[in-house]
Symmetry: C2
Subunit: 352 residues, 2 copies
């Protein structure tokens, strides 16, 4: 794993709070392998079910939530809701991995790969119920605002499930279909990646009792940060090393995911290359290594990297606009902007 | 479909309340095929996505909840929570059907069979989120008790997910394993079938503001009714016609489910038949039609029907004991007992 940028170490204050809360919730349940599967996925257990650290993912979403809460002086009462959003996020990953047939995540076998699809489905379901139990811990501390936040989080969660539905639909369309456009791609990213950062940001404001305008700015901040992060992740999946991402090399291409880089490549391709891409993306199976390499070459020879990177930067601009609207100190604003720069990295430039 | 016993028509008062609530919730969502899949599963749409009636299942669990609420004079404020439990129950069925690879339910293709496993997983997930949104409707009407009921329902739901986990475990054990016992079978049935009737019964008491003792008696009533109903369903699956159950003929045997009839058959079998059963139940694949027929013959030639029927009757006795403890009129108690008799039918005797 690459050493994170110095500014991201700010999250090291919040990660143990979230992990402590998740561990406390899991240890309050019965002693069942099902909960150990969750502990494994959260990165607390290794493949032999022995305690381990360093595989838990970034805890980025609750980190953003708690950093903002800290700015507002409401860290303590925000821990449980930030944690429940992280539990939800990890639930979506357990089921996503089944749906995408992804065998590896964070450098380790996925839950379904290790224990089978049935356990993957059911353990995910149980984890979605733990989201509700963790919410109850939040509600106990914050009884007056809990019903409003219950409603908001569940509506947002449902938007994410709708996004997943549209993702299936999108993946089933031929690449030349009229719905497969840059706009379609942004709508999809918004309903999943955007919401999953927008929600923890706006929740920080709601718990702190901020105004509707402030909460809207927080939503815009998180939503666009989620988009920018997704776009940069799509670039990493193509031009980054698998060691860095923990995913299989060029998996997005191999699995014919219609990410923005691919949609853009198709849009700018000449008739001959369009036909090649149509044939490859209409295949029922995954691409072979040779086919994957051919698509990678087309991407390399095009302006795709620069184009998508510019789109990510447009999102970052919106993030910065939203930051300016927040009622936080200049220092805190500067910190948020440094976080953008550390998260959304121009990997081609950085590699030079 | 068989005509239901006259006393069960009492539920016809509550079914439209629950269906109306589910339809209102679904129509409040975006216009997405995902929600039509739910409408299909709830029995509101046919296989061509045209409005239909008569395929929605019995709405038995919310029916019990609302009947009890009606006894207590609190019908109106209980509708939403009874509905949310029904939405949860149907969510479990959508995922169960994937996990069991069941192709048919209520005489129609299951969701995963019609739209694929990925849609089955995701639509189930979305439906579990709708449980939370329906809960919010309940909480709006009943703000003072909502947090207590949120906690209770989610703990019970988690018990059901744990039951599903143990079910996988149970199904993977060889039939001669020390854990495959009548007790193990009852624990499993309890955590799924028992809880799914115990919960709506106890919730009726909680919403009505009844004492802890009354709520405990309601739980005992529902839990044991759920067990009795499951046992009679296991008998129907073997000795009933598929027309009646809506399931494939002898599916439980074919899929080598370790229901109490099979566990009992194995326990009482001689060494020769034990070996036959061990060989069949250790197969990786489903049983063939010939093998299924052979197991059916062993069941026919044993006392299994009578044995399991007697167990169901023991549960019914506990149901009746619990009914006696309730603070409802004698007439209402008699009605509940008549419902037992109509639900838990001695199909062999009835067929004579």
């Amino acid at each position: 794993m690459e050493k994170p940028a110095e500014v991201l170490r700010i999250f090291e204050k919040y990660t143990p709070l979230v992990d402590g809360e998740i561990k406390s919730l899991l240890s309050a349940q019965d002693n069942l392998l099902m909960y150990d599967m969750m502990s494994y996925f959260f990165g607390y257990l290794d493949e032999d079910m022995k305690p381990v650290t360093g595989f838990g993912g970034k805890r980025f979403r609750p980190g953003i939530c708690l950093l903002l809460a800290d700015f507002y002086g409401s860290l303590e009462k925000t821990i449980e809701i930030a944690t429940s959003i992280e539990i939800f996020h990890n639930f979506t990953l357990i089921h996503d991995d089944i749906e995408d047939r992804d065998q590896m995540r964070r450098g380790r076998p996925t839950v379904w790969n290790k224990w089978g699809i049935n356990h993957g489905i059911n353990t995910g379901d149980a984890q979605l119920l733990l989201v509700n139990l963790e919410f109850d811990r939040f509600a106990k501390k914050n009884p007056t605002i809990s019903s409003r936040i219950h409603e908001l989080t569940n509506k947002r969660y449902l938007t994410i499930a709708e996004g997943q539905f549209m993702d299936f639909h999108f993946s089933e369309l031929p690449i030349h279909h009229a719905e497969v456009t840059e706009k379609g791609s942004f709508d999809l990213m918004g309903s999943k990646s955007g919401v999953l950062v927008g929600l923890p940001a706006e929740v920080a404001g709601l718990v702190a009792g901020k105004s509707d305008e402030e909460c809207k700015a927080l939503w815009d901040y998180g939503y666009n940060l989620g988009l920018a992060y997704q776009l940069s992740d799509d670039l990493v999946s193509i031009w980054g090393s698998s060691e860095k991402s923990g995913k299989l090399e060029l998996a997005d291409i191999k699995e014919k995911k219609k990410t923005l880089p691919i949609i853009h490549l198709y849009e700018i391709s000449n008739a001959g290359n369009k036909t090649i891409l149509e044939n490859l993306y209409n295949k029922k199976q995954d691409l072979t290594d040779l086919e994957t390499a051919a698509v990678k070459r087309l991407l390399d020879d095009s302006d795709t990297y620069e184009y998508v990177w510019a789109k990510a930067q447009e999102c970052v601009s919106k993030v910065c606009e939203a930051i300016e609207k927040l009622s936080i100190t200049l220092e805190d604003k500067r910190l948020l902007k440094e976080i953008n720069e550390a998260l959304i990295v121009d990997i081609r430039k950085a590699a030079k």
